[in-house]
């Protein structure tokens, strides 16, 4: 291959790289708004499952707070708290807590807690648990996650906030104990955090950057 032809060859390769990258870039820019809107809508839908629109009259996305508590909330990073109010009275809040000890890494949760400390519900946002076993924590795949509805630190009492295998009141999943154990622990710790900080969680006003997209 002579000099001339190798230059042509590299130019061809270069052009393909430019065109390929260009097309991906164009697609990315033209879809990114839509994707962000999709994510937002999906998150809002999840929040509304825990705190139905009828129960609050504020903008869940605007009335947020970020808090940090590595031990109780499961992540060293900031955790977003979405607050629901009706006529300026606190109704409930949803915390984006994390269960750090899943079978394959962290499990991100939404924990909805009513003002009185009972659980409005729990949902799994992302996880990498074993398909067919651990993924029964997804609401689409089994009813397991509904088992938290209405529970609180008094019901069941603190010592029984475990899966049955560990002497508690919560079912484990067939073939998967680590996953439910991680979630039960994370929900219990979220409730503990809520009990300690309830008034502050509702009274601190939203920081200016609270409009930012939640994780």
């Amino acid at each position: 291959m002579n000099y001339r032809s190798s230059v042509i060859t590299s130019v061809i390769l270069f052009l393909f790289a430019v065109i390929g990258t260009g097309l991906v870039a164009v697609t990315y820019t033209s879809t990114s708004d839509r994707i962000a809107a999709n994510e937002r809508e999906r998150l809002l839908r999840k929040l509304h499952v825990l705190v139905p629109p009828a129960r609050h009259d504020n903008d869940l996305f605007a009335d947020t707070l970020t808090v940090r508590d590595e031990i109780l909330l499961g992540t060293p990073g900031p955790v977003t708290v979405y607050r629901a109010r009706r006529a300026n009275r606190p109704v409930a809040l949803v915390m984006a807590a994390v269960a750090p000890d899943g079978y394959s890494g962290s499990i991100r949760l939404l924990v909805g807690i009513n003002y009185d400390g009972t659980l409005a519900g729990v949902r799994v946002v992302t996880h990498r648990e074993t398909p067919g076993l651990g993924d029964a924590i997804e609401e689409e795949r089994s009813d397991w996650i509904y088992g938290f509805d209405g529970k609180s630190l008094e019901n069941p009492p603190t010592g029984r906030w475990e899966v049955r295998k560990d002497g508690g009141d919560f079912d484990q999943l067939t073939g998967a104990t680590i996953t439910p154990r991680a979630i039960v622990g994370a929900v219990r710790r979220s409730l503990l955090y809520y009990r300690e900080h309830r008034e502050a969680l509702f009274s601190i006003s939203s920081p200016a950057e609270s409009q930012q997209q939640a994780p």
Binding site: T9, I12, F16, V24, T27, R34, I35, P131, L133, T174
Partner: protein, 229 residues
């Protein structure tokens, strides 16, 4: 250069040279995803779309690309196409994307795609490359769905569970529980089930092929030696 007819190309992709059962390409996604019919179907359709697109593009640029750099160019084409499909799905079919999300990037690792680009599309006209992509994709999808069905049925006693995630609410009616109070057979859903299931499928295909050959042989003999009745 030989120019196979459409029918021949279809037969190759669907049976004789099936990417899943004969070429044994794309085992990584094939084994990972086939724990249910719906998962298999989803990945199969996405792979088919990718195969058709990349085959057409590779065939379209076949006179432009120098042989020395053809592999990097194919890799570029495939990676771009998959990324664009992923972004487009995320934007317009968000719910489906959420389910297949992790499988879409996996398509890049499917060597069936670069295999078809190199061994077929780069040497054939665009229309043939299109048919080849379609046939190989559908062939691959059929294997994914069959294996997914076997594993889902044996593993949890259902078929088409979670179909509504893909087809919307009407899909809910598709979901069937074939065995009530089934305790589940974990092995089928876990990775070993995929290997065993694929092995059984390949064995079944060999049996069918052997039978067919036997019959053809018998027919040939009949022709050579007319019946004495």
């Amino acid at each position: 250069m030989n120019e196979p007819g459409y029918q021949h190309i279809l037969k190759e992709g669907l049976w004789n040279n099936n990417p899943g059962l004969v070429q044994l390409l794309g085992l990584c996604p094939l084994l990972a995803v086939t724990n249910s019919v719906v998962n298999g179907l989803g990945l199969g359709l996405a792979t088919t779309l990718t195969l058709i697109t990349t085959n057409v593009i590779v065939s379209g640029i076949r006179n432009l690309v120098r042989p020395e750099v053809r592999i990097p160019v194919y890799v570029l084409v495939i990676a771009s196409v998959v990324t664009i499909i992923e972004l487009a799905m995320n934007a317009w079919f968000h719910d489906l994307y959420k389910i297949l999300g992790i499988f879409i990037p996996l398509i890049v690792t499917n060597c069936a795609i670069i295999g078809r680009a190199e061994s077929f599309a780069s040497k054939q006209t665009v229309d043939r490359a299109f048919i080849d992509g379609l046939a190989m994709g559908v062939g691959f999808t059929l294997v994914l769905v069959t294996l997914g069905g076997m594993r889902e049925l044996i593993g949890q006693g259902t078929l088409f569970a979670q179909a509504h995630l893909m087809f919307g609410e009407p899909g809910r009616a598709l979901a069937m529980t074939l065995i009530d109070d089934y305790r589940g057979f974990l092995l089928a859903i876990l990775p070993p089930g995929a290997f065993i299931g694929l092995g059984l499928l390949i064995a079944l295909m060999n049996v069918i092929n052997a039978r067919r050959e036997e019959r053809e042989l018998a027919r040939d003999l009949d022709v050579a030696r007319p019946s004495q009745a």
